[in-house]
Amino acid sequence: MTEDAETKLQDIVRAALELPPDADVTRARQPGIASWDSLAHVSLMLGIESEFGVSIAVADQLHLTSYPAIRSYLEEHGVGRAVR
């Protein structure tokens, strides 16, 4: 994933979960963050769709409950891949 895409993803996660601007979200997981409730999850999924132009299936949405999982999902779907 390119640096720009990674930065954007971190911004989305911070904003959707109402975390401070300097929070390290690269290891964020739903069970460990109080603000990551079901509504914030919907907001996060819509934010990712909106920023990266993807449509995330329901089954995937249920499993995208950590930053690493989201990052992997986006890479698998070719989002933010560096142009060679």
């Binding site: 919907v42 907001s43 999924m45 819509l46 769709e49 909106s50």
Partner: protein, 547 residues
């Protein structure tokens, strides 16, 4: 507007006038909150949004609207037909009539909320019928109900089934910002003034044909052939009138001709269905303004329907508050036109007063004479029409259309004189000239619309023009062109007829006051100079050297 942009907008927003509204959606509305606030902030407004609890839109519709609240409905097909909700699965079987009845019931409930702003998302339907064509027909039927209620149509691709399954929000991340902007735009609109008066043109609108030229027997308004769409239009107007809409007619005709079809008793509409039928040859904007003053109604409660883009432009320019609608040229455009028209007069209940309104207002208009005020300067609009006038020398070759025009035109007709082919030939053999002129513009090809017969002594023996092209300054342009040709005309063989008031008006303008019938002299050089600007509105094409 995407997610991060919405956040940035809100971070920078320091406050503004509140924009309070109810956002009514049968799915989950909460995910919209960020985007709605950001969309309002972009307009300098602080959104105060109330949302309905999930899946309670149907109940909310059955409660009376709060008269002080702005309601914005984001509707999907299953708000009309609950069986089409993807979250309920595909029903084993459905009763089509029952579905249609449910949809009509929802539409009726929505129609009662006359101040509500409606948006319709035409999401795909699950397969409800064994025959997919019936599903498509149902989708179209629901969409037409929504549009008929005045709903703004949103792009179907904004619907996201994944998001709807996951959270109940029917719009995906790729579209939610744009849909939120549409919702806020609807909420921020000033209250919609209900329309009260429908002013309609007559020729080629209320009936097919030109009454002044074709006569009652030559026009069509019955449910067959060319009359069909005019019949349907009249039947809608009749319904609107019964529901309290005031009908008025404004036509370029003399009164006797305009009333002829009504007097026949064969039309769905009768003269007493109208508060006024204004027949004359002055600007339609002036007639509508006079009508509004007499009726003591705001111009923003008027709708004007005409088939002629020049008339529509003239009224729009002078009276921007009047809603102008073009009567469709093709049957395929009729359903959308009629839906739009009906939605402008949508209302919840019909009272006894509504039914009597026409009679009440007609009394106010008794004795009203057509206004003779000038209309708008249409130069700019006419330039944008990109008109091309092709002038043909019909002195030789086929002159069928030119002779036909001379013999069928009543209104813009120099003297009403009918001429046989033999008479025309005799004038031409004696040294006369016959011209035809065809018009095309960006609205289409109007065909050969003018004929002019000049006698050997340089007097104009016949000059006729189709009333379909009134208001385009074509007659002035043609005269300016003719005045610059070798052997220009020096006079008109004028005679007044019961029908040729438009020509009398034209001739009075170019030659001064008329003193009875006979030769009216003109100065071609002066006319060429005076109407050069009108000639400049046209590209002159294919001019045959007229000897």
């Amino acid at each position: 507007m995407n997610f991060l942009e919405a956040r940035r907008v809100l971070d920078r927003f320091t406050g503004g006038d509140p924009l309070a509204f109810v956002f009514a959606l049968s799915g989950t509305a909460e995910p919209f909150a960020l985007y709605l606030r950001a969309a309002a902030a972009k307009r300098g407004r602080a959104a105060q949004v109330t949302v309905l609890p999930f899946n309670t839109l149907a109940q909310a519709l059955r409660r009376p609207a709060d008269p002080g609240a702005i309601e914005v409905f984001l509707l999907v097909p299953w708000d009309f037909v609950p069986e089409a909700d993807w979250r309920s699965g595909v029903p084993e079987s459905v009763d089509e009539e029952q579905l249609q009845a449910r949809a009509a019931e929802t539409a009726r409930l929505l129609a009662r909320r006359t101040a509500a702003r409606l948006l319709y998302l035409p999401a795909a339907l699950p397969p409800l019928f064994p025959d997919p064509a019936r599903g498509a027909a149902l989708a179209r039927s629901i969409e037409s109900l929504a549009v008929g209620l005045g709903a703004r149509l949103l792009p179907a691709e904004a619907f996201a089934l994944a998001g709807y399954f996951a959270s109940g929000c029917p719009v995906g991340g790729g579209w939610i910002g744009r849909i939120a902007e549409a919702v806020v735009e609807a909420a921020a609109q000033p209250p919609i003034a209900p329309k009260k008066v429908l002013v309609t043109d007559l020729d080629n609108v209320l009936w097919n044909g030109v009454i002044g030229d074709d006569g009652v027997d030559g026009i069509a308004f019955e449910p067959s052939g060319a009359g069909y769409r005019h019949f349907v239009y009249q039947s809608l107007l009749r319904r609107l009138q019964r529901e309290g809409t005031l009908l008025a007619a404004v036509t370029r005709n003399d009164a006797e001709a305009a009333l002829g079809p009504f007097d026949s008793g064969r039309m769905p509409l009768h003269a007493d269905d109208f508060v006024s039928i204004i027949a004359g040859y002055h600007a339609k904007s002036a007639q509508i303004r006079e009508l509004a003053q007499r009726l003591n109604l705001g111009l923003d409660s008027f709708v004007f329907v005409d088939d002629n883009p020049v008339e529509l432009a003239e009224v729009s320019l002078v009276l921007p508050d009047v809603r102008c609608l073009a009567f469709p040229q093709h049957d395929d455009e009729l359903p959308v036109f009629l839906r739009d028209l009906a939605s402008l007069f949508a209302h919840s209940d019909v009272t006894a007063e509504d039914r009597e309104r026409t009679e009440m207002y007609r009394r106010r208009l008794e004795g009203m004479a057509p206004s003779d005020e000038q209309g708008a300067d249409l130069t700019r609009f006419l330039q944008d029409l990109h008109m091309t006038l092709t002038i043909h020398d019909r002195s030789r070759g086929d002159r069928t259309r030119a002779v036909q025009l001379i013999n069928k035109t009543n209104q813009f007709n120099l003297n009403g004189r009918r001429r046989t082919e033999q008479e025309v030939r005799a004038i031409l053999e004696g040294g006369g000239r016959l011209f035809g002129a065809s018009l095309t513009d960006r609205t289409g090809n109007h065909g050969e619309v003018l004929a002019c017969l000049v006698a050997a002594d340089a007097t104009i023996a016949s000059l006729v023009m189709s009333c379909r092209v009134f208001q385009r300054r074509l007659e002035y342009a043609f005269l300016a062109w003719l005045a610059t040709q070798p052997h220009p005309p020096v006079g008109f063989d004028w005679a007044s007829t019961p029908r040729n008031a438009p020509f009398r008006q034209f001739l009075g303008e170019i030659a001064g006051p008329l003193n009875g019938d006979g030769l009216v002299r003109i100065d071609p050089a002066a006319l060429a100079g005076r109407y050069a600007g009108d000639l400049g509105l046209f590209a002159i094409a294919d001019v045959t050297d007229p000897r």
